[in-house]
């Protein structure tokens, strides 16, 4: 029943979105060691509280978003474009 305020499309029902996962993961370079990749792929936190998640607006603009969501209450604290360059442009536009 979550609704996500897509920065490009506005507030939409969660059924339009696809869930990615932990959006805070920094993936290592492709040539990094198996240990570094194991850390990134398997050793995940199971957060109770606010976590940064990736969601894709699959049935909308198809942008991947970073969503700060409370896993206990489903409360969403912020939504921004996952693409760093796009996020910067959106932010700049909002300020002007």
């Amino acid at each position: 029943m979550i609704r996500i305020n897509c920065p490009f499309c506005g507030e939409r029902d969660h059924s339009e979105f696809g869930y990615g996962g932990d959006g805070s993961i920094e993936y290592p370079p492709l040539d990094a060691s198996a240990e570094a990749w194991t850390q990134a792929v398997f050793e995940r936190e199971n957060i109770r509280g606010v976590q940064t998640e990736s969601w894709q607006h699959v049935s909308g603009c198809r942008q991947w978003l970073l969503v700060e969501r409370d896993t206990m209450t489903h409360e969403i604290h912020s939504v921004r474009a996952a693409h760093s360059g796009v996020a910067a442009v959106v932010e700049k536009e909002q300020q002007s």
Partner: protein
């Protein structure tokens, strides 16, 4: 004597007589009657038979909490079991009958269960079936169990649902509002009016078919005037009001689930109307004015027909104009029943009020007025007397803190009030645990941070005018939260009775044994709770499951508090220390049809058709579902079976030429200066040096090194690629590329676009494929062996001028081409190719022949690349590049994934070549046909080329390890076991001469 219709009064329309049938007999009632009120008015007393003991049951309430009058309505494919007669409004043609009884509820042969009560006590099922036939006996044990279960289910059960498809249709809808008000009683109406007059968008829902809640249960005209005035104000303020609509659950983000019963009360509804609507409502603020339910308490035979909640009598007298009894005993422990006693006396009943409390101030006893209600204090009911209906009550007199046997009094109606339980169910859905109100002996809502305000008697506020104030206070809270204003009106305090209620959950006198029900709907008795305690149950949640207290359609409405109180007593604790059970949606039952809405049958999921769908059908295709797609399965000629058809199609393709619709493959345009870099990072094999005008087969892995998907990627320019994916993973691969570009590699200048719908594709396969294709394109020279060698791609035009893309790639193992045109040109392309193919005795082929051809070649699909296989498992490890890093390269070499005894892709032949075997079989050693075996079979086909059945599968260590061994393809539950041998997966043309030729 039983109930009868009063000459005057009630909110029924006496000018509109309505005919209906109960147990195949004709009855009449009035517009505005429920099934219960109409049948009571007709003198009926027995409405049902109880769950386990088949005890006769009558009407016990006037609402959704009903535990006795549970009936079946409708017939044939519209049969609806477990309907509460107290909420079912009557309409012309209504058919209802008793359930859980044979031949009928009045004479029920199952009543013998009543004599064997001790066999059906708490935990009966668990105890019985733990002892005798253990499941561990395998089939035999289970079989015995099944027999027992059938017998017991027939004896102890609820009504039977129709086995036929539901003829009605249902709708789903979405609604929005500022403020949702649940309940249209005094507090709900007051709240809705105030919010609406402040300009908020208000939606008021009422589960009943009449608005008004408790306003309907009063004799004064004033009550109804208040209701009508409120409804008029709501109307003029533009508020929406919906009756016959239950808010069955509350969810995140202010979502309420609503069920609107649209045609259930109509004799001949418009066929275009849905039976019910399942509505998802989003409210900025929710006001719960859900009321309170009156509790009974446990005494002997407290389930006899002729015993009901005290306040139900107010409803029957004042709302329905039915006098439910002439000689009435009212047993109470609180003030609320005094008005009820008065009402009954007013309409001519002889009434005795027994109050468990010893000290009643004059201010309360004075309420009884001048109509001759006899008041007995310090007295309550010990036992109800009667076989099929109550005839007398044995009273108990207070002595110290207990009871002693008292006198017996004749009566034909016993009204019981053991206090009130606020309906906190909806708030409980939000995870808010109710708090115990010691003074009122009930659970009341705890505060919540969500935009939800409870009000009225659902907050433990009893008086109607206090409830109106409470409604306005709740409105203020909603206005404050929606409009960000400050809240000014204070909520009245809970309670409102002159004298405190005296807790009363069970009446016991030493030496008197009896059957006292705490949850009549499930035949759970006070003794059951004590038995559960004796057997070591201490948690309320366990108690509930062990005894079935408050389960199923009741959801704890009737017996929860008494059960907890008795448990608390047994444990020597206070009620709040024992806890409360969690109420779960739905508040009242919802039909499965409403949940499904229109998503059933062909509408259950979307259907995708290829652009040549109709063309395929015109040419004899039988279609098969492939995910959301429909694809040609086979093209049977007259008299052919599917097996004959696919064998012919595969044979023809290998001999001359075959055409197959491959449009469902995923297609992604990958464009931009960094397109090559993206593709090279995503695929495990080398792509950096793929020349323009060439295609390459690629395998992409997941981060964890397991295979994600495979397909070919065609290069048209420095910056322009065309990637194909499997049908199954098309959407997933697209999402994956978008994730990589947007989240991981934002610096790459690449654009990915799904073009699956834009291109129609066909495979042209077989030794004559090039000749056929050459005859269909404008310039035949572009497809010669030199111009278009194996894995070559070209953009050109068909003979009819349609632009097309051609790649010389092969899934079948024959010389083959994939040809793509814009979707609008699909039929034209198929006409051209088909005409030429028929000239060389070619054919169309479907997925079944496609499967046969690829299995012969050992080419993998989704069943082999099942999310567990590594690239080495699939026998494609040599393709993976050692010279570059790519997604999955770090983790694909984890030691566990590199073990020599990993399952490897193999081919499988039957030992006796005339035998067949099935996909899904387990590959076992002949001396150990058990457990997980050594491997499994993923796909089988009859091989036209080899002349016998073959299969693909995985086996530990691969085919070299099992050379010259005999194994068993074990399929114990279907076709039995077959001896097989393991071979290379490349079963036909292993060197690939035909594709390259």
């Amino acid at each position: 004597m039983s109930a009868s219709r009063l000459k005057t009064g009630g909110h029924i329309d006496r000018t509109r007589e309505i005919e209906f049938r109960w147990d195949n007999t004709r009855y009449t009632g009035f517009k505005g009657d429920t099934l219960a009120s109409a049948l009571l008015a007709n003198g009926e007393t027995i409405f049902g038979r109880s769950f386990k003991y088949h005890r006769p049951r009558g009407v016990m309430s006037a609402g959704v909490e009903e535990s006795g009058a549970i009936v079946t309505t409708g017939k044939a494919n519209r049969r609806d079991p477990n309907v509460k007669a107290t909420t079912q409004e009557i309409f012309p043609g209504l058919e209802a009958r008793g359930q859980n009884a044979w031949p009928n509820v009045r004479r029920d042969c199952g009543a013998v269960n009543n004599l064997m009560g001790r066999f059906f006590s708490a935990g009966f099922y668990y105890k019985t079936f733990m002892g005798i036939p253990p499941f561990e006996w395998g089939r035999k044990g289970t079989g015995i169990w099944m027999q027992y279960e059938k017998l017991i289910r027939r004896a102890a059960g609820m009504g039977k649902a129709s086995r036929e498809p539901d003829p009605d249709h249902y709708e789903h809808g979405h609604l929005f509002c500022d403020v949702l008000v649940v309940g249209s009683g005094p507090s709900g109406l007051a709240a809705a009016v105030k919010c609406a007059e402040q300009g908020l968008d208000v939606l008021l829902v009422e589960q009943d078919f009449e608005f008004g809640g408790d306003y309907l249960n009063h004799s004064s005209e004033e009550s109804l005037r208040k209701r009508d005035a409120a409804l008029a104000k709501l109307n003029s303020a533009g508020a929406r009001v919906m009756s016959r609509t239950t808010a069955f659950g509350l969810y995140d983000y202010g979502v309420a689930g609503l069920l609107q019963r649209v045609t259930d009360h109509l004799p001949n509804p418009e066929p275009s109307l849905p039976r019910q609507r399942f509505l998802t409502l989003r409210a900025r603020h929710t006001i719960l004015a859900t009321g309170a339910l009156e509790r009974h308490f446990a005494f002997g035979n407290n389930d006899l027909p002729g015993i009901m909640n005290a306040h139900a009598a107010d409803a029957y007298v004042n709302r329905f104009g039915v006098l439910p009894g002439q000689q009435v005993v009212v047993a109470t422990n609180n003030d609320s029943a005094y008005n009820t006693a008065n009402q009954l006396a007013r309409v001519g009943a002889s009434v005795t009020l027994v109050d468990a409390r010893t000290a009643i101030p004059d201010s309360i006893s004075g309420l009884l007025g001048t109509r001759g209600v006899e008041l007995v204090t310090g007295s309550t009911v010990l036992n109800a007397v009667g076989k099929r209906h109550i005839t007398a009550v044995e009273l108990a007199d207070a002595v110290g803190s207990g009871w002693k046997q008292g006198p017996t009094r004749d009566c034909d109606l016993l009204l019981v009030s053991g206090g009130w339980s606020p309906v906190v169910n909806l708030l409980s859905h939000r995870g808010v645990r109710p708090q115990w109100d010691h003074d009122n002996c009930c659970f009341v809502p705890a505060p919540t941070n969500e935009a939800i305000t409870s009000t009225g008697s659902s907050l433990g506020i009893w008086g109607n005018s206090d409830c109106e104030d409470a409604g306005r206070a709740a409105a203020d809270a909603a206005i404050a939260s929606v409009g960000n204003q400050t809240n000014t009106v204070a909520m009245p305090a809970a309670g409102g009775w002159e004298t405190p209620l005296q807790p009363l959950y069970e009446v016991n006198v030493d030496g008197v044994s009896k059957k006292s029900f705490i949850d009549p709907q499930h035949d759970v008795t006070a003794d059951d709770v004590r038995l559960a305690h004796q057997e070591g149950f201490v948690s309320v949640e366990h108690l509930k499951r062990y005894t079935t207290l408050g389960m199923a359609t009741d959801q704890g409405k009737m017996g929860n508090i008494i059960g907890m109180a008795l448990m608390a007593e047994a444990l020597g604790k206070e009620v709040p220390d024992v806890g409360t059970t969690t109420f779960r949606p739905p508040y009242t039952p919802i039909s499965i049809g409403a949940l499904a809405g229109r998503a059933f049958g062909a509408h259950f999921k979307a259907l995708r058709r290829t652009p040549m769908h109709d063309w395929n059908l015109e040419h004899g295709a039988t279609m098969v579902d492939a995910g959301l797609w429909q694809r040609p399965w086979y093209f049977a000629r007259e008299g052919e079976t599917i097996t004959e058809a696919y064998i012919r199609e595969a044979t023809t393709t290998r001999k001359t030429v075959g055409l197959c619709d491959v449009t469902s493959l995923g297609k992604i345009a990958i464009q931009g200066p960094d397109a090559t870099e993206l593709i090279n990072r995503v695929y495990s094999n080398a792509f950096a040096k793929l020349p323009i005008g060439k295609a390459r087969y690629g395998i992409m892995l997941r981060d964890d090194g397991i295979v994600m998907d495979d397909g070919t990627t065609w290069r048209f320019s420095d910056t322009d690629y065309f990637m194909t994916t499997t049908t199954a993973h098309a959407a997933k691969v697209m999402v994956w590329l978008e994730e990589l570009l947007q989240m991981r590699w934002p610096d790459l200048k690449v654009h990915v676009t799904s073009v699956s719908e834009q291109w129609a594709g066909v495979a042209v396969a077989g030794p004559n494929s090039r000749d056929v294709l050459a005859a269909c394109i404008a310039d035949a020279s572009v497809v010669t062996n030199d111009a278009l060698p194996f894995m070559g791609v070209v953009e050109t035009t068909l003979a009819n001028g349609a632009p097309c893309r051609i790649a010389r790639i092969s899934f079948s193992g024959e010389m083959a081409f994939e040809v793509y045109v814009g979707s609008d040109h699909a039929n034209g392309m198929m006409d051209l190719l088909h005409t030429q193919a028929m000239l060389v005795d070619g054919c169309l082929y479907g997925t079944e022949a496609l499967g046969a051809l690829r299995i012969e070649k050992g080419h993998v699909t989704g069943v082999e690349l099942d999310g567990r296989a590594t690239i080495d498992d699939a026998g494609l490890g040599k393709m993976a590049s050692d010279k570059k890093s790519y997604i999955g390269s770090a983790l694909r070499k984890r030691p566990e994934l590199m073990r020599e005894d990993r399952p490897r892709l193999v081919g499988i032949f039957p030992k006796d070549r005339s035998e067949k075997f099935k996909a899904g079989s387990i590959l076992c050693r002949t001396d150990k046909v058990a457990g997980h075996g050594e491997g499994w079979i993923t796909a089988v086909t009859h091989s036209p080329e080899l002349g016998h059945w073959i299969g693909l599968g995985y086996i530990s260590g691969g085919h070299e390890h099992w050379a010259d061994s005999t194994l068993v393809a074990a399929d114990p539950v279907r076709t039995g076991n077959t001896e097989v041998e393991i071979v290379s997966p490349h079963m036909v043309d292993p060197t690939g001469e035909r594709m390259h030729g």
